[in-house]
């Protein structure tokens, strides 16, 4: 069973889950206590978008934004609708991004989370539009904005419409920023392609989860281009932090307190 499925399938008879990285098993309950970080090897496993929102936002403060926005098929791409329906069925999501208003330790904020289970968190026209509406909502309400990225890049099935979301979201962040809005970009595994080359790298503050792959081109493409092996930690959070593209790597257990600290410093 995939780790990403562990929360929310309470009826499963399997009480133990093995880590995809080290293979060691731990009780579901222990995984949950460690917020999907392997209790044995410390490797970060994905969090569902909803779980992330629940962890970050104060209990009872959450109001989901634009929940009705779902996959749309601008090119009439063969097989895309069916595939999207299967993903919706599997994840219970309409699209790869969730947006919500809420408070973080009593500081109000707007939060968007990309969910990598849905088409690898890829940028579709709905994802781009929903992110843009979320940015505009935060701008209008004069609230800080936090976006958790996790994306394999462009949604191939939407071709040029996927690409154009990069310009749209970047322009929206620009306007938000000029109006004085605070944008915290929170990079999780993996943040690549068109998401890296748009809103995800335009934060006032850039945070990252340990060990996350963050880059524009994928490592395989780079190795094919330069005909050489890349260093083991290449494009990982730690590598980017070392080079100053990430302000801070934050452990999952500290996620909420660091966000609260930053919101407080900007309040």
């Amino acid at each position: 069973m995939a780790l990403a499925d562990i929360w929310g399938r309470s009826g499963s008879p399997e009480n133990f889950i093995s880590c995809p990285a080290c293979g060691r098993r731990a009780l579901k309950q222990v995984w949950r206590e460690h917020i999907n970080v392997c209790p044995s090897c410390g490797k970060y496993q994905p969090l569902k978008g909803k779980a992330r929102l629940n962890l970050v936002l104060d209990r009872g403060s959450q109001k989901e934004l634009f929940p009705e926005m779902a996959v749309h098929d601008p090119l009439g791409f063969p097989g895309y609708r069916e595939k999207a329906e299967a993903q919706q069925e599997k994840t219970g999501l309409n699209e790869a991004v969730l947006s919500a208003y809420g408070t973080i330790s009593n500081f109000p904020a707007v939060v968007a989370v990309l969910d990598s289970r849905f088409f690898m968190g890829s940028m579709s026209s709905t994802v781009g539009e929903k992110i843009t509406r979320t940015i505009e909502y935060a701008g209008k309400e004069k609230l800080p904005l936090i976006i958790f990225s996790a994306s394999g890049g462009a949604r191939m099935q939407e071709g040029i419409f996927s690409l154009m979301q990069m310009a749209k979201t970047s322009a929206a962040i620009q306007a938000f920023s000029e109006a004085g809005g605070l944008f915290i970009s929170y990079l999780t595994h993996p943040t690549t392609g068109g998401v890296t080359a748009s809103f995800a790298t335009l934060g006032d503050i850039t945070l990252a989860e340990p060990g996350a792959l963050i880059g524009f081109a994928g490592p395989r493409v780079i190795e094919q281009t330069i005909h050489a092996k890349l260093p083991k930690n290449f494009q990982r959070s730690e590598y980017l932090e070392e080079r100053g593209f990430v302000d801070m790597i934050v452990e999952r257990k500290d996620m909420k307190s660091v966000l609260a600290q930053l919101l407080s410093l900007h309040s």
Partner: protein, 309 residues
């Protein structure tokens, strides 16, 4: 395929040129036949499929940024480097005059020879290239010059240093930066425009595409390799990607299409410069009456509404 037709056309033209001098009737008749054959072949070049357009967009003899700059602008003054780290030669930038008016020009470069292509990194920019473009465009904003960008790239360079120097950040910053400009910005897609590497210089009020240019989320080879794990299915990818100038016009990404000489721009570059000149002048003219704030708003709205839900 267009490739074979162009090869035959080349041979035909050479043959026609070699016969021309003769006065013999038989040769005259043969010449007539050859010319008819040439016209028929050219007529077949009218309707090209997307894969054929990709072939033309990448043709080694196709006019490139440097050729357009030399043909359409006077007093060109090149500007070098990002003044931070490096001078990315895959980006040409500078100031010139267009019909007498000072403008800023930024373009992606490809070469006509292997040597030039190596020098220009096959049109693939590094972060330094996008930062150079931003530096040059910032001056256009300061001195109120319209900006003309030429797009011609297989994508941003996927190299180790490019990643280490923030390829993603440079592209994102360039788009955000272009979105706030208050001078007219016109982008011309002259060859192939792929991925964020192309979009980084395309946040314009007007996007002009040459008839056989293409613009897409990724190269057809990359697309086929991601979607079907098989890059050799690139021709099939061309068919469904909707990457031609007509497709892009329909998607409201492109605003105008520039006609190409039959068989592609490389068959008659001089004519191509004239065709582009007419459209470019018209598009710039259409932005003339707009205030700085209206220019920004116009550009923002264009990208805000693409693929509108």
């Amino acid at each position: 395929m267009i490739r074979e037709r162009l090869e035959v056309l080349d041979k035909l033209e050479k043959k026609i040129a070699s016969i021309r001098e003769s006065k013999s009737l038989r040769k005259q008749e043969r010449l007539m036949n050859l010319k008819t054959f040439k016209q028929d072949l050219l007529a077949e070049c009218k309707e090209l499929n997307p894969a054929e357009k990709v072939y033309l967009a990448r043709h080694l003899d196709r006019p490139r940024t440097d050729d357009y700059v030399a043909a359409l602008f006077t007093d060109f003054f090149p500007q070098r480097g990002d003044h931070l780290y490096d001078n990315d030669k895959s980006i040409l930038g500078g100031i010139g005059r267009y019909h007498g008016q000072a403008v800023t020009i930024v373009g992606q470069r490809k070469g006509h020879t292997a040597k030039e292509n190596v020098e220009f990194n096959f049109g693939m920019a590094c972060p330094e290239g996008y930062r150079k473009a931003m530096r040059i465009m910032e001056q256009a904003e300061k001195f109120r010059r319209p900006i003309i960008t030429f797009v011609d790239t297989p994508g941003a360079y996927p190299g180790k240093e490019a990643e280490e120097h923030g390829q993603g950040e440079a592209i994102a910053r360039s788009m955000a930066f272009m979105s706030k400009l208050t001078v007219p910005v016109v982008t011309i897609v002259i060859g192939e425009g792929n991925s964020g590497g192309a979009l980084a210089l395309s946040v314009a009020n007007r996007i002009i595409m040459l008839e056989n240019s293409v613009y897409s989320v990724l190269s057809p080879e990359g697309f086929a390799s991601i979607l079907w794990k098989d890059a050799s299915r690139h021709e099939e990818a061309c068919e469904i990607m909707k990457l031609t100038a007509e497709d892009l016009k329909e998607a409201k990404v492109a605003d105008a299409i520039v006609e190409e000489p039959l068989g592609g721009a490389q068959r008659n570059p001089k004519l191509q410069f004239e065709y582009l000149d007419k459209v470019l002048e018209k598009e710039l003219e259409s932005l003339k009456g707009l205030s700085p704030a209206a220019l920004r708003e116009d550009r923002f709205k264009k990208f805000r509404s693409i693929g509108g839900l």
